[in-house]
């Protein structure tokens, strides 16, 4: 450790040496520069003393012994994450390759869904625990909110991706239907290139019926519900973050205004009731 400390100090001196020389030569006020240099040197000497003391302290060995597993732990975490990413990439290449070979859109739909599922699995296993790790210190609550924001943002993106994938499925299916219709008609010699509108009409009808089937399905309703939940969750944490930012500025937040609006609403209601009662009494007077 001593060797390491000495070598760092040597480097620091070597780095500051030419700088201070150049600075001194370009500054007319030589006296104040001398003072600055002395102060820097005193600083270096203080650090040197601290490191030297650490080197001689008997208690440093057990401390270093406990610190030693940290790089190993970090390495393991990185390794796990890396393995997950590698698996994801492997799956993606496989899916891309098979989609090039495959002629059915169903395979592509399945591959996309599988990829999304794998990513979500990786996120749940490797990333979310890190974001949910307890935070410490003065900025604990801010950091927690930031982590929650990142987590919900991911949830929002994942839900939208899943939802869009579901919405995209009827488009792929209807195009596939149109292709097979055209192949069938071609086989029977009935295919003509006279009116593109006929093909479009066939496609849009097929798309509409595919959508109707999808939109009523429990799968869609469940996904829609999850998507709305994810969007709303994200909205809430985003607002929390903005409230944190706005608190530093002389601007009222939605939270402040909502409290005020509620009071105003209740007061207005009360005033209207009282005013109606008074007018009613006045009409008898």
């Amino acid at each position: 450790m001593k060797t390491a400390t000495e070598s760092w100090l040597t480097i620091a001196k070597a780095w500051t040496g030419p700088f201070t020389t150049a600075e001194r030569s370009s500054t007319p006020d030589g006296e104040s520069e001398k003072q600055k240099q002395e102060s820097r040197q005193a600083g270096f000497q203080d650090w040197q003393k601290v490191f030297a003391t650490m080197h001689t302290m008997a208690g440093m060995d057990p401390f270093l012994g406990r610190v030693a597993p940290f790089p190993e732990m970090t390495f393991k975490m990185v390794q796990n994450g890396w393995e997950g990413c590698f698996n994801l990439y492997k799956h993606w290449s496989k899916a891309t390759k098979s989609s090039k070979e495959s002629k059915t859109a169903g395979d592509l739909e399945g591959a996309g869904r599988k990829f999304l599922e794998m990513w979500l699995g990786l996120y749940e296993k490797e990333i979310r625990p890190i974001l949910n790790a307890p935070q410490l210190g003065l900025t604990r609550s801010y950091q927690e909110r930031m982590n929650r924001f990142l987590d919900k943002f991911h949830g929002y993106q994942a839900a939208i991706a899943e939802f869009m994938q579901l919405l995209n499925a009827p488009i792929e299916r209807s195009l596939r239907d149109m292709e097979s219709m055209m192949e069938k008609a071609a086989g029977q010699g009935k295919l003509s290139g006279d009116d593109f509108r006929d093909y479009y009409n066939f496609w849009i009808k097929s798309l509409e019926s595919d959508y109707m089937a999808l939109l009523q399905s429990p799968e869609y309703i469940g996904t829609l519900s999850r998507t709305l939940t994810a969007v709303q969750d994200f909205n809430v944490v985003r607002d929390e973050m903005l409230v944190d930012l706005l608190q530093a500025l002389p601007i009222p937040t939605n939270r402040d205004m909502d409290e005020l609006y509620k009071e105003l609403y209740q007061l207005k209601k009360m005033v209207k009731e009282v005013s109606a009662k008074m007018q009613h009494l006045e009409s008898y007077a």
Partner: protein
């Protein structure tokens, strides 16, 4: 020959022909889109005769001699705007009703802001609607007025008529959901699944854009793709473009919905179906449909995907009057008001139905009228009876 067995020459010739046509269309469309376009909506003249908070009351004086003495108040839904009833000259429910000699009022709910998030259904029904009805009764010196509701506005009118039957002469509900226990519309299916508490807590007011996305998703193939393909195909037709843009203006003019109102509607209606069972409560009072003793005309669309016939048709069997009529038109939710065919059916039917009942009241003679006037004076209480008020703004807080 291509792999599909079509002559490539044929395809290419057709393609060239189509490109030529499109080019010609685009050139013409430049003149149409960049030239003067009349895309104004809600052009029928009106006066704002009453204002309270964000709401305004529009008054359209009858175009010719009044043929229905009792004024008609139209209550639109909180979703989208009442301008739909006056989209363009010649295709306007408002104008048609005026031409039938009806003195017409319409509530403009305005654009709720965050301060409106705490307003409940009770505030809309027993607050705003009741104040507006009282205002019109005072203005015309009548004990009762005719009420017509559109969609959820119709549900509000139904609630109001059950709670204040003494102020409603006739009730007309159009595409009005009253029975929410049906799986026949996508909206009903989806609404049952949403976590409304989380939604309202997250947004405050429910953003109009979110509702619009929901409506587009009811039929993405037609509403997101086919509609605009159709537009491109007729982009050189000025009249078509003007009508299309008017409709677009209306569709995407979506105010937010006050949060607490949305919460209550979803919970009480879509989740628990309380309205049709006469179990819903507003301001601590039960909305008993048996109290709806005035004549009821219930109009809905056979192909309505938002409020299907199943959600509307049960109403007439649940109200406390025998003078009811159901009218199911062969159209959808919006078509009932904007399609040329329905324009010819809807307003003549409403006007005829009202005139029939207005005449009945007349025939009953002045005895009933005198009694009614006396009742009005007692019921209103707030202002001296028969005082004509040109324009009254609700007193501001602290005034």
């Amino acid at each position: 020959m291509s792999s599909l067995g079509i002559s490539m020459d044929g395809i290419l010739n057709k393609l060239v022909e189509e490109v030529g046509k499109s080019q010609e269309r685009l050139l013409k469309s430049k003149d149409v889109l960049l030239g003067p376009l009349d895309t104004n909506i809600a052009t029928t003249p009106y006066k704002i005769v009453y204002e309270e908070d964000r709401i305004k009351l529009k008054h359209y004086p009858a175009a010719k001699t009044t043929q229905v003495k009792t004024p008609l108040l139209i209550v639109y839904a909180l979703i989208n705007r009442e301008t739909m009833l006056d989209l363009q000259p010649g295709r306007s429910v408002v104008q048609n009703l005026l031409n039938e000699g009806i003195d017409l009022y319409m509530i403009d709910w305005g654009y709720p802001t965050r301060k409106d998030r705490y307003l409940t259904v009770d505030d809309h029904v027993n607050g705003y609607i009741d104040n507006v009805v009282d205002f019109i009764r005072r203005r015309h010196g009548v004990p009762k007025i005719n009420l017509m509701g559109i969609c959820i506005g119709g549900s509000f009118c139904l609630m109001y008529s059950a709670l204040h039957p003494e102020k409603v002469q006739n009730l007309i509900t159009t595409v009005t959901p009253s029975n929410f226990d049906t799986n026949e519309g996508l909206l009903h299916l989806w609404m049952k699944q949403i976590d409304v508490d989380q939604m309202v807590d997250a947004y405050g007011n429910i953003p109009g854009d979110i509702l619009n996305i929901g409506f587009l998703l009811l039929n993405p193939a037609r509403l997101v793709i086919d509609k605009y393909v159709g537009f491109l195909e007729k982009i050189d037709d000025r009249s078509f473009v003007e009508n299309f843009i008017r409709m677009e203006k209306w569709i995407f003019d979506s105010p937010d919905v006050p949060g607490e109102t949305f919460r209550q509607l979803v919970k009480d209606c879509y989740h628990n179906n309380l309205l049709i069972q006469s179990k819903m409560e507003l301001g601590g009072k039960r909305v008993n449909l048996r109290n709806v003793t005035m004549p009821v005309l219930n109009i809905y669309g056979r192909y309505d995907h938002l409020v299907p016939p199943e959600a509307c048709s049960l109403l007439t069997s649940k109200v406390g009057t025998k003078d009811t009529e159901d009218l199911c038109l062969d159209t959808g939710h919006i078509g009932i008001y904007v399609s040329s065919k329905c324009q010819k059916e809807l307003t003549p039917k409403i006007a005829g139905w009202l005139k029939e009942r207005d005449g009945m009241e007349e025939a009953a003679g002045s005895r009933i009228k005198k009694a009614a006037k006396k009742a009005t004076a007692q019921e209103i209480g707030v202002m001296p009876p028969y005082q004509r008020v040109r324009r009254r703004k609700a007193p501001a807080l602290g005034a």
